[in-house]
């Protein structure tokens, strides 16, 4: 975008505005001066022998003010400013999209739902005051359950930040079974961090006791890891100068915070990234295409509102791909249960309907549209993404 041009245009405005302001000051001063001078003539003329001719002083003043033409002067500077103001507005309209609501469908967009979504977004970011404040101001019911869960999460994270693993360990212990189902070893990682912490700050005996109590239950599944940790006992108190110095790196704490958050959200049935952030980011990426489309379709408002599927693709970044979508390169149809993707012996993939068509309902062999291979329907098999 031509930000430089816009900026220059704005600089001209603010220059003209300052000019116009000082012009106004100047005009007021000029007028004031004349009036004061006339006033002076009256006040200095207390000599009764030569009374001032008030009429002539006032007429004189009137003529002088006319000669200054203050209103004319004011108008002149303002005119120039106005010119620049309207130029700037036109520039904004030229370089930016003046109406991004053009692609908006005026459908029922339930603001109660939106309020809940925003409040939960605040809660998950640890902005509990804001979430409460919003629900209160909007007169929405409290989202107590989710709030208290995210409160737990933020207490755990806050404790980790000050190197206190207790709340995290307590949570991991209570949710051991579920974490196991998720094949997460976050509990072991927590104990490992705690163990390393003791090795650095506590005594060797403390560390050994800790290992016996908390690390041994993991031995059967993570033997290698446990052996390594036990070897660290040799360098208790000087781990940072040992072959295992990597274990003392602060990045372990950052990574663990991230992993904890991920596992915590996962057990809650929530995503790691705020769904509101994801949806808005997708909107920012997708909106330019939708606006172009609505321009093309502006004559067909009804079709725009009635369509069940967008007529053109809205390309989004990798981070927004949540589902496998197979598009047949021949028919451009999206794969579905009735029309699944099929792998041909040449390893090219088409949808079932395309293969049926090419093989005349599987009555004859056909040539693959992408390579010279001869293919029969019987040789093709369904794919599952």
């Amino acid at each position: 975008m031509e930000l430089d041009i816009i900026k220059d245009a704005f600089d001209r405005i603010s220059k003209k505005q300052k000019l116009s302001s000082s012009k106004s000051q100047e005009v007021i001063d000029l007028v004031g001066l004349e009036v004061e001078q006339a006033l002076g003539k009256f006040q200095s003329a207390h000599d009764p022998t030569s009374p001032v001719d008030q009429k002539s002083v006032l007429t004189d003043l009137k003529l002088k003010l006319n000669a200054i033409g203050p209103l004319h002067q004011l108008e002149g500077s303002q005119k120039e400013l106005n010119l620049n103001l309207s130029k700037y507005q036109k520039l904004l309209e030229k370089f930016l999209n003046p109406d991004i609501s053009k692609a908006y469908r005026n459908v029922d967009f339930d603001f109660h739902i939106v309020n809940q979504i925003v409040a939960v977004h605040f809660y998950r970011q640890g902005l509990f005051d804001l979430g409460d404040s919003l629900l209160n101001e909007a007169g929405e019911p409290e989202a107590t359950a989710l709030k208290s869960q995210f409160l737990d999460l933020h207490q755990i994270i806050e404790a980790v930040r000050v190197r206190n693993l207790e709340p995290a360990l307590k949570w991991a212990c209570t949710n051991r079974e579920k974490l196991k189902q998720n094949s997460s070893n976050v509990e072991l990682k927590l104990h490992r961090l705690q163990f390393v912490e003791i090795l650095q700050k506590g005594t060797r005996t403390d560390a050994l006791n800790y290992a016996r109590a908390y690390l041994t239950p993991f031995a059967s599944l993570h033997m290698e890891e446990i052996q390594k940790l036990m070897a660290c006992l040799l360098w208790a108190g000087r781990l940072d100068r040992s072959p295992y110095h990597e274990m003392t790196s602060p990045t372990h704490w950052d990574n663990l915070t991230e992993e904890l958050t991920q596992e915590f959200c996962s057990l809650l049935g929530q995503s790691y990234v705020s769904p509101l952030s994801v949806a808005i980011a997708a909107g920012v990426e997708g909106l330019p295409t939708l606006l172009k489309l609505s321009n093309v379709m502006s004559a067909k408002k009804q079709e725009w509102l009635a369509m069940k599927q967008l007529p053109v693709p809205v390309e989004l970044g990798k981070e927004f791909q949540f589902h496998s979508i197979f598009v047949c390169p021949v028919s451009r149809d999206q794969g579905s249960e009735e029309n699944p993707p099929m792998l041909m012996p040449c390893l090219h993939v088409l949808c079932k309907q395309s293969i049926m068509k090419l093989s005349k309902s599987s009555t004859r062999t056909f040539k693959c549209p992408y390579c010279p291979a001869e293919v029969s329907f019987a040789q093709c098999r369904q794919l599952y993404f």
Binding site: I280, L316, C368
Partner: protein, 438 residues
């Protein structure tokens, strides 16, 4: 070598299900111009290539073009202040000139003349103070316009994620201001230190009017109409007329008939030329009174008319400041959900990372169209990563497909044995084949 000319695969199938004018859009985006070539060159189609790194910046440039309101609103505010300040100066200076003329043209005593001129001097001094204050406001507002330009300029590849977070906050503040959740809006702006990037002060002006309308008072709204008279006239707004109608209705409700008629003569009659029908309808309430059962007139007395005025005011207000009529949040959310919506989103196994796995987002997306894909986008079931040329899809003997990366990892850990996570089938790594998907 004889090459048999084959029609392009695209000609096999009629594509008339698209409206003709989409065809253009579509064709443009087809790769290799396959739609127009007649020679089918047998080439192995490759998996979708990863987006080039520059596409981030293209997206960024495109998204900045959506920020019209962000620049326009403080500019309108600035413009308004400039105009108002100018009007004050003009008015006062011409009052002084008139004062002098009048005095010069009439017979005043010496004392009167002194008194008169002194009052003009102090009037000019008062104006000067006002002007200084006005300039200060102008400068502050100019700074705000400038800050927004700088903010747009500051977006680059390095700080993109912070910048995007801030954009979300701006969008949320906009939403809350429009919904009249002023306290929360102010709290968010303050705690994120983005006061210059949101329009809290602009909405303060709206708040006064909205609060009054909710208390069934039209006076502040009428003042607002007077302040913005020329611009409302230019956009052919009939908001003032609607306010006047409501005031008239209130007089009829109070059975203050004589006053109602006087009021109508003074304030409604001027709108007769352009809005005769509405005028007649409302005048008829004099005959029917507020307890009427006739539906045409009954609605005019209902209290939801006041809600309607609030909505009407919000629209006029947004138009005047160059804002979208809908909150930005709704616009972006709708666009995003449309772009994300696939038939798979409403299935139970929709991944949690997809906003559309959540009931609330699903409900919002219900009336929106599904997205469309021109090319396959395949996500590995195991790693959730996109499968492309670098990480191609591989097929197990049972037809289940996973990314090469995931399968390689699995083979490494399990002595070249592969277990299908969805069916439990066990096979050898060597049994896998690569699938070519264009």
């Amino acid at each position: 070598m004889i090459k048999i000319l084959e029609p392009s695969p695209f000609t096999y199938f009629a594509r008339e299900k698209f409206f003709p004018f989409f065809l253009k859009l579509e064709m443009d985006s087809l790769p290799n111009g396959t739609a127009t070539t007649t020679t089918a060159t047998p080439a192995a189609p490759t998996a979708p290539a990863p987006a080039p790194p520059s596409s981030r910046l293209v997206h960024l440039a495109e998204s900045l073009k959506l920020e019209h309101q962000f620049l326009r609103v403080p500019f309108e505010h600035y413009k308004k202040t400039i105009r108002a300040n100018h009007r004050v100066v003009e008015k006062e200076v011409s009052a002084v000139i008139c004062g002098v003329s009048e005095a010069a043209d009439s017979d005043v005593s010496n004392d009167d003349a002194v008194h008169h001129l002194s009052s003009l001097v102090s009037r000019l001094q008062g104006l000067k103070r006002k002007l200084e204050e006005g300039s200060r406001t102008e400068n502050l507002q100019a700074q705000r316009c400038r800050a927004r330009l700088d903010h747009l300029e500051s977006a680059d590849a390095e700080n993109l994620s912070d910048w995007n977070n801030m954009r979300l906050k701006r969008i949320l503040v906009d939403y809350m201001l429009r919904m009249s959740y002023y306290d929360t809006a102010a709290k968010l702006a303050e705690s994120s230190n983005i006061q210059d990037l949101v329009d809290i002060d602009v909405f303060q002006e709206a708040k006064k009017v909205i609060d009054a309308l909710q208390n069934k008072e039209v006076a502040p709204a009428l003042v607002w109409c007077t302040d913005n008279k020329s611009r409302l006239k230019k956009s052919k707004s009939k908001f003032e007329f609607q306010l006047r109608l409501q005031e008239f209705i209130e007089l009829v409700r109070a059975e203050n008939n004589l006053r109602a008629i006087t009021y109508a003569r003074k304030y409604l009659a001027p709108w007769g030329a352009t809005h005769m029908k509405e005028l007649q309808r409302v005048m008829a309430t004099l005959a029917f009174r507020s307890n009427t059962e006739c539906t045409t007139y009954k609605v005019l007395f209902e209290s939801k008319q006041w809600d309607f005025l609030v909505d009407q005011f919000k629209q006029e207000f947004c138009k005047l400041y160059g804002m979208t009529l809908e909150p930005l949040l709704n616009i972006y959310l709708q666009a995003g959900l449309s772009a994300l919506k696939t038939p798979y989103c409403y299935e139970d196994d929709c991944t949690k990372e997809d906003p559309l796995s959540q009931e609330s987002f699903r409900k919002l997306a219900l009336p929106l169209p599904y997205s469309k894909q021109h090319h396959s986008k395949l996500v590995c079931y195991i790693t959730k990563e996109l499968m492309d040329t670098e990480n191609p899809p591989q097929v197990l003997p049972n037809g289940y497909v996973y990314s090469a990366k995931a399968l390689k990892e699995m083979a490494k850990k399990n002595n070249d044995k592969i277990t299908c996570p969805r069916t439990g089938l066990v096979c050898n790594y060597s049994e896998l084949v690569k699938a070519y998907i264009s």
